[in-house]
């Protein structure tokens, strides 16, 4: 596995831990379809949340959030629809939300995470 993919997996694990710690119920991780991949799907109370996790080891080439372009955001929306079509409705979830989590994980140092709710 390439170093960047390993960093990505590590970031996703960190994000998942943070979310469960805050009472999110993880429904799916790394869900794939022909159009792409959703990093995390979770339920936060009444909201069904689709989460894009971006991980960087430094901000030398920009903040993690800067990697989420409008194009990626609209793909994420299509993926959310595809996930719902494949899995059917989730009981108890009345709203949809798209979140972004930025993980800054420097080599050999504790990671820091930032969570943006409801990006659109």
């Amino acid at each position: 596995m390439a170093a960047k993919d390993e960093l990505g997996r590590r970031g996703e694990r960190i994000a998942e831990r943070a979310l469960t710690g805050r009472g999110y119920e993880i429904l799916d991780r790394n869900w794939r379809c022909p159009e792409g991949e959703i990093d995390l799907v979770a339920r936060d109370g009444e909201a069904l949340v689709f989460i894009e996790v971006k991980t960087r080891s430094s901000t030398r080439y920009g903040h993690p959030f800067e990697a989420i372009t409008p194009g990626k955001l609209s793909r994420l929306r299509r993926l959310a629809a595809a996930w719902l079509a494949a899995r059917g409705p989730v009981p108890g979830a009345r709203r949809l939300r798209i979140d972004a989590i930025g993980v800054l994980a420097p080599r050999g140092a504790p990671a820091s995470i930032e969570h943006l709710e409801g990006i659109f």
Partner: protein
Amino acid sequence: MHVARTHAIALLGLDGTVVDIEADISNNLPGFVLIGLPDLALGQARERVRAAAANAGCPITHRKLTINLSPAALPKHGTAFDLGIAMAALAADRVVPADSVDRVIHLGELALDGRLRPTPGILPSVLAAARSGYRTVLVPAGNAAEAGLVDGIEIVGVTSVRDAAIWHGAALDPIEVEPLLLPPVALESARDEGDLADVAGNRDAVEALQVAAAGGHHLFLLGPPGAGKTMLASRLPGILPDLQVEAALEVSSLRSLSGLAVGERLLTRPPIEAPHHTASPAAIVGGGSGVLRPGAAARAAHGVLFLDEAPEFSPHALDALRQPLESGVITISRAAGSARFPGRFQLVLAANPCPCGNAGSRDQECLCTPFAQRRYLGRLSGPLLDRVDIRLRVERITAAQLRAAGDGGRVSSATARGRVERARALARARLRATPWLVNADVPGTWLRSPAGVPERGATAVLDRALERGGITMRGYDRVLRMAWTLADLDDAPRPDAGHVGRALLLRRAAA
């Protein structure tokens, strides 16, 4: 609430309006939105501010940043808003204290490395800030001297975004950087206008030049090539009195607006502008589609506008001068708005009498047809020439005249300026209760009022010329105005017959 506000100045011509720069940071993906009618250069502030702040070590937020320039309907142009945008963004992010930023006007363009570049239009902007009651202005270090010309307002010159943030109280360590400066220029000595004493012979022309300077009369020099028209015209600013503070600020403001260096002292000498005869109307009076820039006539305000080879100018360019000559103000109206520039200049026109240049001269024969001659000077429109009081025929100097003139009797610029200043002081004292400053401004009604009539019987020669149809009523007034200037130069209380006679000669010397 992640909101902060600071202020900058939007310039339209020389008039500045305070603009509020509001910054809002919302919890969303990184983005930078700039609203409030920015032009292209201002819209690109997004990229400059982001890069400059990051490279100065105080990056702006990684959330969504919205900058609003208010009043939103006022068109804004240029790059002087960069510093304000950066400070508002940093204040909204709690990097710098918002209350400190709110009290201050920020001006200056950012370089990508975070330093501040010298920016055009700082002086008029600082003037507008002072008039709007602001106490402090942050300007690029390269413009600090220029901004310091304005009294009653604290000027803080900063070298970089980081420097500005630290001034506001940000918890950052200072980093020494080389300030960006304008190339130094020697302002006064750069203009080699020569001395009036260089003019050999041509006693009449030298005298007429002093009359023009003393009374603020516009001047038309007509003569063959080589008669010294350009030499005479270039010596007119040298014999004009020093500029008053108000006028000097306007002259320096126009330099600043044109992107020229202003220097540490106010320019006290009147400017001279000599546009080439291919100049367009917009080059003469000012214009531009997005940004309204001053033209040669505005840059000549409080000084001399010299149009050499006047008939060669396009009639449109010449007639564009009629409005400023009438009102002393240049108003440029475009879709983006209308700008006002000062337009009280002294006009000097120079022309050859015909296309070959020799009509009426004693030593060489004119080769032009009468029709060509007529058409040549006919290009100067009547309404324009109507405003020109002194019309002087200048002749080439013969060798005999040159020997006869010798070195005696020459007048130096310093002496002439002294005479001009005394004459102007007399005129000012006489016109104290009126809105006019120099004799050339005075209307006909004043000239016929008890305060303005010459000595009894002094106008006999003029009255005869009027009866014979030699001059018009308008010309009559013009002669009287010049007679007053001649009287002022002679320190006489009122014009006598001699002054009126000489004034008539100055008027009728050509065409």
